[in-house]
């Protein structure tokens, strides 16, 4: 038993680090570092750079144009990207709909959509949650009625992340209202330009426009845009929930956040000494450090199991719960560290192009909004309570 990376894995880390140092544009890196929102152009620019290098479909098998990385390599890649302040790849196309298409899509669908994902021609969003279907996703009510070669879709989706930029949405719809809950659901690909699709922003408590409501009124979707058989949409959705979730703890982000927190608390002064030397604050940081150490080993255990052919299922629920709690704790400590400097709110700086003359103000600006934004981590992707119920059912057999 050992916890060290092989020489090849360490060389791979150096290769990723070198790529990030030479390819990540300084302006984008700085915006990510300061927690400022990126434009769609920023996202696409970075994803194009990754794509040109063959690294955009990091989870993709080589047969579909991915780099064919092992789970360990993907872990290293994620860690290095977070450490370098690289933008998070918008996951809905490359990491979410793509694996579903590879597993359940027709050859035509794969040939059409997968290349468009890899060269960023399509921006995908996710049409899962509804106002009446959150944790109980299978109770969704958006209807798709067959009309010749089309489905006519009516309903409403919500929490649609970055849907304002999307031209495509993968969507769970009810095709058989009489079937048992999960059985009547199908997986549709909807062109956002189709008449009847409208997007309304939902502004979250950090003042950001990240999520949306999507209204669907008599939207005509070709039957050819259904993935898998009619009524098998739930299988696709479930597959997504277990697919390659070894990165779900957000370990790279947590490491970066702890690193940032320590630097901040070393710089900020409290009664003539660095805040990090203040015993009460220091103890909070130490506890977060311990939690990170434990989470890292747990994450490596799950990655090693995946590398050796296991499928991380419910174990990833454990990673999600502890990872989200740790990242929330770190965002809390970062906000606390700033003290009174956490109070000013500069949305035009964070979400627009307005600059702040005061460097310290700019460095501090994202802390409080990010603290509030990170509340989402224990809610989205199946709330932590849902994750615990999954563990209770599938690991503990309760």
């Amino acid at each position: 038993m050992n916890l060290t990376f092989t020489a090849e894995e360490q060389a791979f880390r150096q290769e990723v680090r070198h790529f990030l140092e030479t390819s990540l544009p300084a302006a984008i890196r700085e915006r990510v570092r300061l927690g400022r929102r990126l434009t769609t152009d920023d996202h696409i620019h970075w994803q194009n750079l990754l794509g040109e290098h063959g690294w955009l479909g990091a989870n993709w098998p080589a047969a579909h144009g991915g780099p064919g990385w092992s789970p360990v390599q993907r872990h290293i890649f994620d860690e290095e990207c977070a450490a370098a302040h690289a933008p998070t790849v918008v996951p809905f196309g490359v990491n979410m709909v793509a694996p579903v298409l590879m597993k359940f899509g027709s050859e035509t669908q794969q040939r059409h959509y997968l290349p468009r994902i890899l060269d960023n021609r399509d921006w995908w969003c996710q049409g899962y949650s509804e106002p009446g279907a959150g944790s109980d996703l299978a109770s969704l009510r958006t209807r798709a009625e067959r009309d010749g070669d089309y489905y006519v879709v009516n309903g409403q989706k919500t929490w649609t992340t970055l849907g304002q930029h999307a031209n495509m949405m993968f969507c769970l719809v009810r095709t058989d209202p009489n079937a048992k809950k999960q059985a009547g659901i199908s997986f549709l690909l909807i062109d956002m330009a189709t008449p009847g699709v409208s997007v309304r922003p939902l502004i979250t408590l950090d003042g950001a426009h990240e999520v949306n409501e999507v209204f669907l009124e008599d939207v005509r979707v070709p039957v050819a845009n259904r993935v898998g058989a009619e009524g098998e949409g739930w299988t696709c959705a479930k597959f997504l929930l277990t697919h390659e979730r070894t990165g779900i703890a957000g370990l790279g982000h947590a490491k970066q956040a702890l690193h940032h927190l320590k630097a901040l608390a070393s710089r900020l002064q409290h009664r003539g000494k660095p805040l990090l030397e203040q015993p009460i604050f220091r103890q909070r940081v130490v506890k977060a450090e311990l939690e990170l150490m434990a989470l890292e080993v747990t994450n490596l255990r799950v990655i090693a199991a995946a590398r050796d052919g296991g499928v991380p299922g419910a174990e990833s629920s454990l990673l999600k719960v502890r990872g989200s709690e740790l990242r929330q704790e770190l965002s809390d400590l970062t906000r606390r560290a700033l003290g009174p400097a956490a109070l000013p709110f500069f949305p035009d700086f964070l979400y627009g192009d307005a600059e702040l003359a005061d460097v310290e103000m700019a460095e501090a600006a994202a802390a409080s909004p990010q603290y509030f934004n990170r509340r989402k981590l224990s809610i989205y992707g199946g709330s932590n309570e849902i994750q615990k119920s999954i563990v209770a059912k599938t690991i503990l057999g309760m």
Binding site: M1, A263, M293, E296, V297, A304, M398
Partner: protein
């Protein structure tokens, strides 16, 4: 990066699992008689026959050269069965120090019989004024002719009643060139000037306090006059072992609690159908798995350079101490009033898991170490 066991390690785990399963259940052990000094239990002799007593020691001193993972597997199994044999206190801690420090004669007299299961030893390090600090030792050792004279007192010497000799840490005093350094001395029972008072700990372990009044020893009784680094290394091994033992006990507590929740019915339905209890059970499981990760980190850090080793060891002990208490408290709570009784197996585990934190430094002590050595980057 590899978390799998080798074939030999899988066999070790299976052998131990069978052996532990054959032992009387912990709630029926209270009636077992105390062993007389120098006697080892039948199970201890089985350990010897299986090579378990040789396992954690280097081949150069007659051991089997087992690594941290082997030790982890062993201690996890012993913790899982709450086996009372003093593998840590009677074998590992004194044996590890002997392996690091003893000369050939001392090895032949004390270490070889230890590995053969012919006797057990004990380590006396704790003093009332020092809490958990292994270096803050007031017991003194003065040159006395060709030998030494020791004065002071020791607390909580685990297994001293059964030990063929007690390894005692003492500060070298007087004009000696090694003055102020830590020495280690071997003291057989019955040595004039040594007074022992025996008791049991909260979790049922035999322990003793020692008073040393002008205990005079010959030169061969001195194991080392400069043992600080060896003590650090031995305590790292001991703490890694202790964490693994606690993980085994946590796992058993989780298994017992889960089985109870599935079997016990209230309001016409098994307790395991209540979501609030399901989530509490998952929280126990989360603590267990995170503690297991820290025990793995500790077990695989024993051959690292001392600063890195000690940082990880302290982190693991601090983390496992908190997790063990959480699991113990939840296990009692989820068993309800039955969990409060001596008849209920889980209560014995709970005592062990809470008292675990008091052995070799508690969570606060190790958290302080991590805090003092926290890197600012």
């Amino acid at each position: 990066m590899d978390f799998s066991y080798s074939d030999e390690q899988r066999m070790l785990a299976e052998t131990l699992e069978r052996l532990v399963a054959d032992q009387p259940a912990p709630e029926r052990r209270a009636s077992q008689p105390d062993l007389a000094a120098g006697q080892c239990s039948p199970l201890w002799h089985t350990f010897a026959e299986l090579g378990l007593l040789h396992m954690p020691f280097d081949e150069s001193v007659g051991g089997l050269g087992g690594d941290g993972t082997d030790l982890m597997i062993t201690m996890q199994a012993l913790g899982h069965g709450l086996v009372p044999e003093p593998y840590l206190a009677g074998l590992l801690l004194p044996g590890d120090l002997l392996a690091r420090l003893a000369d050939a004669d001392q090895r032949a007299r004390w270490l070889t019989p230890l590995l053969e299961g012919e006797h057990q030893l004990a380590l006396a390090w704790q003093e009332s004024s020092a809490r958990y600090d292994i270096h803050a030792i007031a017991t003194s050792a003065q040159r006395h002719g060709n030998g030494w004279r020791l004065d002071g007192s020791k607390q909580l010497v685990m297994g001293a009643d059964a030990a063929a000799a007690i390894l005692v840490t003492a500060r070298i005093a007087g004009e000696h060139p090694d003055a102020d350094r830590l020495g280690i001395f071997l003291i057989p029972p019955g040595t004039p000037g040594l007074t022992r008072s025996d008791y049991r700990t909260m979790d049922g372990q035999p322990a003793s306090d020692l008073i040393l009044e002008s205990v005079t020893l010959d030169g061969q009784a001195c194991l080392s006059e400069n043992a600080a680094a060896a003590l650090d290394a031995t305590f790292a091994v001991g703490i890694a072992a202790l964490c693994a033992q606690a993980v085994g006990a946590m796992q058993s507590s989780c298994e017992q609690t889960l089985a109870f929740l599935k079997e016990r019915r209230q309001f016409g339905t098994p307790l395991s159908t209540f979501q609030t209890l399901q989530h509490r059970m998952v929280d126990m499981h989360l603590h267990l798995e995170q503690a297991r990760s820290m025990a793995i980190l500790a077990a695989t850090s024993l051959d690292r350079p001392a600063p890195e080793r000690d940082y990880r060891i302290a982190a693991a002990k601090a983390y496992c101490g908190e997790a063990a208490r959480f699991v113990a408290e939840q296990a009692i709570q989820l068993h309800g009033a039955m969990g409060m009784t001596e008849e209920c197996l889980v209560s014995h585990y709970a005592k062990h898991l809470v008292m675990f934190d008091h052995y070799l430094g508690d969570s606060d002590y190790h958290l302080e170490y991590v805090s003092e050595h926290l890197s600012a980057a």
